[in-house]
Symmetry: C2
Subunit: 226 residues, 2 copies
């Protein structure tokens, strides 16, 4: 098969894929990575279904969105599927990122292997505090926020991670937009009004905590009824 045609096909199809399917792809990515590590080279939708605890028809439906990687009677080629999902998710695009805020959260994020595992290169952190400017965390140097614009004009930076208090979130996004950043990973807990030519991915940890509290409360109610 001609690779270029295949890629073009994927790109055309991707625009019609629902956000719900896109949201599920990283989970496939994680499971496929584990399978590769375990040395498994092919898997049927039935096996994958058991492993991931979703229906086989859901799996076929999700993966057929991208042109159908499966083959009747053979199953999915794990390496091929992993490579294609990686490509769709931009892992192969080698995005570069900066982290805004070198407090505990910024350090926690840079201290994990999360970025490199997904092909994202964290090239710098930025902060306003003299206490951290010039220091390194996880091998990444902290720069003065004042130098953000110059830094971004020298290098192509795709993603900014917002790990700072929500009070300054809007101003920061304005600056990052002016500096040519395309994607914002927002940990501030504040919903930032879009409209700018940027992609936002918000992480609301507080919402997640409340969902857990709801679950615990519901469990307590059920346990009492027993």
């Amino acid at each position: 098969m001609n690779e270029d045609i295949f890629n073009k096909e994927i790109i055309d199809r991707v625009e019609n894929v629902s956000p719900a399917v896109i949201r599920r792809l990283p989970r496939y990515y994680r499971y496929l990575r584990e399978l590769i590590r375990a040395g498994q080279s092919r898997i049927s939708s039935g096996e994958l279904s058991k492993l991931m605890n979703v229906t086989a028809s859901q799996i076929r439906q999700d993966l057929n969105c991208f042109g159908g990687f499966g083959q009747q009677g053979y199953g999915y080629n794990v390496n091929y599927l992993f490579a294609k999902i990686s490509e769709i998710l931009g892992v192969a695009d080698n995005f570069s990122a900066i982290i805004i805020g070198a407090g505990n959260l910024g350090r926690a994020l840079v201290g994990t292997r999360m970025f490199e595992r997904r092909g994202v290169d964290v090239v710098a952190m930025f902060d306003i505090s003299d206490e951290v400017i010039g220091k390194e965390f996880g091998g990444v140097k902290v720069y003065d926020m004042k130098d953000l614009k110059d830094f971004c004009s020298d290098k192509r930076i795709d993603i900014a991670v917002l790990a700072l208090p929500k009070e300054v979130a809007d101003d920061e996004v304005e600056r990052l937009s002016a500096a040519g950043i395309k994607g914002i990973w927002n940990f501030t807990g504040k919903e930032i009004k879009t409209g700018r030519n940027m992609v936002f991915e918000d992480v609301y940890l507080g919402d997640s905590l409340m969902t857990l509290c709801y679950g615990v409360r519901e469990k307590n109610i059920k346990d009492k009824k027993k």
Copy 2:
């Protein structure tokens, strides 16, 4: 209105509410909190709709699940709605929590006001490293992991936050289950097989990052087509 009857009604209804609605409640909680801060005491579903950028019919549908707080022509009573959503989400239950792992992530979490804002009391952190045992972060003391079981039998602990490497996640959950913990807030990036009598809320930051990368990639493709 008799408060007890009302509470019973809510509790009965809550069991039939879809997880999707429950997931949306924390967002209502955030917006209502902001309204209270701004001194606004009532709001129509139309206004709330504009503010939150969802349809008014979605809002009515979501909030009617809990017995309907709105009144025709008057709108929602902000304080009452906030109090009821808080109650449903267990904010008023004053859950207590421990954080397992006093590394950067554990410290980042304890350093925010996220827990106290949602009525959750973080009473201790646990770690295996002598370097941090005995220290305090955000006013919370770090204990030796060895003392976990005794600690939990002395105090009622509802929630454990897993902020440690995924390699040890399963063993830790086993221990926490034995110690009577009811809810796990899981940051390890590992899917933990349920089946235990516990509630899990998983945070997959890596999946969130990949969703962002997908968005940036899609944006790049669209921008190139222009």
